[in-house]
């Protein structure tokens, strides 16, 4: 890796960028343009973000705070835990001396925000022995922490065993490389049986122990209850947003989705996240009342559902393109919560979670259930065509949103989906959903040039008569 890169601390760069951007809340166009010059290396994420108004400001504020906490962790005598996006972080906030660092979020931000993208960090991972073909979603940010260009990591905890190899593999590598303790929750290939549930509970309790041993401090029950109660409110808000997504035209701006899931992965259970969701709901309600589409153009020509994740390799290029073409972004599996009341839940027992704050034990059970039902841990843990797995989820979602088409966008590093995406595409087509496979890498712009990606997308929408 270029030596000069080590001179910047990634977390600090984020903190600085967001804290500056935050100040633009009620700035004029001119002031804004001026201010943004001070946001280091912004490659054009902030401007479209700020275009979203209130919720975006809260989002930026939230991220500024999040990264400031990481930067100041040592000063404040806190430990830093490296974790993955599909892990509900509220548990970390329930002990008073722990700050989570979520790699995938870091990678996405680095790719979207930095002029030079996250290439150098990705390549650094390869240089220190991590498989070059591994998923890019971790490599981007992981490189920074391995290279010492980010916060010092004290422990690693995640929940990807049995769900995604490359993911779990990346974290166990990081733990090994940095020589810090590692704990991974493990998930069987099914979801609903009693044994599985027992496994989840047992495993999660060992995680709790792990955290207590390595942070040397006990869980604060009241704080945990507070977080979970807050999470209930958040779930309710999310359900409302989901519900309103079903309207034609869809009143939810496509970019909201990334705000929704990015913040959830780092701030679930915290007040700022609730604030952002409230502000969103307000705007969405207004749009809905006026029958306005969430698209800038205002005209919804087509509704696309992303059956996996979004593309972050070029700022918000993908959302822009959708917007320009009047395609409503119906979210992807990351925007889902499988809370019991979520509109698309199948009602099959065990497929959703319920938050119970009666006592510590029931709260721990709830958290175990939540973690086992995060978007990925819930949807792609088993065979794609098994009950309540990828195919069924996709069909039910595409159905209630009455999507016109499906799009797969992921990373070549994802063995899990690239080993069966051709099959699910085939099935979705059979069920009448035109489905497009994007060969690009969500985080690494070098895999396929953006022009090519767009050219193929455009071709798909035209040939399949969607526009």
């Amino acid at each position: 890796m270029r030596p000069e890169l080590l001179e910047y601390n990634l977390d600090w760069l984020f903190a600085a960028t967001f804290n500056i951007a935050k100040k633009t809340e009620n700035a004029t166009e001119k002031e804004l343009a001026r201010l943004l010059q001070f946001a280091p290396y912004d490659s054009g994420l902030l401007t479209p973000l700020l275009g979203l108004g209130k919720p975006a400001i809260t989002f930026i504020d939230l991220f500024g705070e999040y990264y400031s906490n990481i930067v100041n962790a040592k000063r404040d005598g806190k430990k830093v835990v490296m974790t993955t996006f599909c892990f509900d972080p509220s548990i970390f906030y329930a002990v008073n001396n722990l700050v989570p660092v979520t790699l995938e979020i870091g990678t996405a931000l680095t790719s979207m925000l930095w002029k030079r993208g996250s290439y150098d960090f990705m390549d650094f991972c390869t240089e220190v022995g991590f498989s070059e073909t591994g998923c890019s979603s971790q490599r981007g940010a992981m490189g920074a922490y391995l290279a010492g260009a980010g916060a010092k990591i004290d422990l690693v905890a995640l929940n990807m065993g049995g769900v995604c190899d490359t993911n779990a593999n990346a974290y166990s590598f990081a733990a090994q490389y940095l020589n810090v303790p590692y704990y991974g929750l493990d998930y069987p290939s099914q979801l609903t049986t009693e044994e599985v549930r027992r496994y989840h509970y047992k495993d999660y309790r060992e995680l709790i122990q792990f955290i207590e041993t390595h942070t040397g401090c006990k869980f604060d029950i009241d704080r945990l209850r507070e977080l979970l109660e807050e999470k209930k409110i958040q779930d309710a808000l999310l359900d409302e947003i989901e519900e309103m997504q079903r309207l034609v035209p869809n009143p939810v701006p496509g970019l909201y989705h990334i705000l929704i899931y990015a913040s959830r992965y780092i701030y679930s259970g915290r007040k700022k996240y609730t604030k952002m969701l409230r502000e969103m709901v307000e705007i969405i309600r207004k749009n809905a009342a006026e029958g306005r589409s969430g698209l800038n153009s205002g005209v919804e020509k087509c509704r696309a559902f992303l059956i996996y994740i979004d593309n972050y390799s070029l700022n918000v290029g993908m959302w822009d393109w959708f917007d320009q073409n009047g395609i409503a972004h119906m979210g992807n599996i990351l925007s889902r919560t499988f809370s019991e009341k979520a509109p698309y839940t199948t009602g099959i027992p065990g497929t959703t979670y319920e938050i119970n704050t009666r006592d510590f034990e029931s709260m721990i059970d709830s958290l175990a259930d939540i973690n086992a039902r995060m978007p990925m841990t819930r949807t792609i843990r088993g065979p794609y065509d098994a009950p309540n797995m990828w195919l069924e989820d996709t069909l039910s979602l595409a159905g209630i949103y009455n999507a016109d088409c499906c799009i797969y966008n992921g990373t070549p590093g994802c063995r899990n989906t690239w080993s069966n995406v051709k099959l699910i595409t085939r099935d979705l087509e059979k069920y009448g959903y035109p489905t497009h496979l994007v060969y690009a890498d969500s985080f690494d712009g070098r895999v396929e040039s953006w022009d090519t990606t767009v050219m193929r997308l455009d071709e798909f929408f035209r040939i399949r008569g969607l526009l």
């Binding site: 070549p412 085939r426 496979l437 060969y439 396929e448 071709e459 040939i463």
Partner: protein, 260 residues
Amino acid sequence: MITAGCDIGSRTAKAVILEDDDILTYAVIPARLDPRKSAEDVMKIATEQAGISMDSIRQIVGTGYGQKEIQYAGRLESEIVCHAKGAWWNQPSARMVIDIGGQDSKVIKMDETGKVIRYSYNDKCAAGTGRFLEIMADALGVPLEEMGEKASASNERISISSQCVIFAETEVVSLVNEGKEIHDILNALHRAMANRVASQARSLVVEEDVILTGGVAKNSGIFDALSEGIRIRIKPLEHIDPQINGALGAALIAKEIDRS
């Protein structure tokens, strides 16, 4: 009524001029570095051959990799649609078209009206395109035109593993060193290439009739290898150069536009 189609590909530029339902003339030229130039040249040649002037052409549809550079095109259409249209017009029984060009290979499924149902491009890697065979022909010092027959003269079955065009080349060299016969190596190359395309066709579920188009369809060796790969006999286009199929489709679309 006269219409035309122009297909600016990565390796060659093609133009077809239609008078109602008959092909007046067509031209195929190697692509120039600048696609705009290719478009001008190929059209000039075609119109001269037909002995007509540009403005006597009612409608021109452009397609292919360099379509955006075709100044005179009245409309642009994707290669997928053009190839489907051309092949279906020539063979109404066609349900699947496999087009292997210089830079990519496409598999297209269509219904009995020639409408595209599904399609796919070659997976990431360049092995499985005409370029692959070109580089190999070059490495073996065999003219492209003769590759096919030479390959079918093979009597020893050897296999080429390398997925990479560039590395396959060194693999070929080492096979030559081992004293393998050129036609056996060629045969292996054709199978290696065909199998990549075959897997592409199989993922869309093969349906008869299957038609092979694009410049590579001029290569008899590919027909056998590909048919073996999908376990179904592939058909050629009848009485026309498969390389112009895209341009032909474009010309046909031009005609339809003008009707409506």
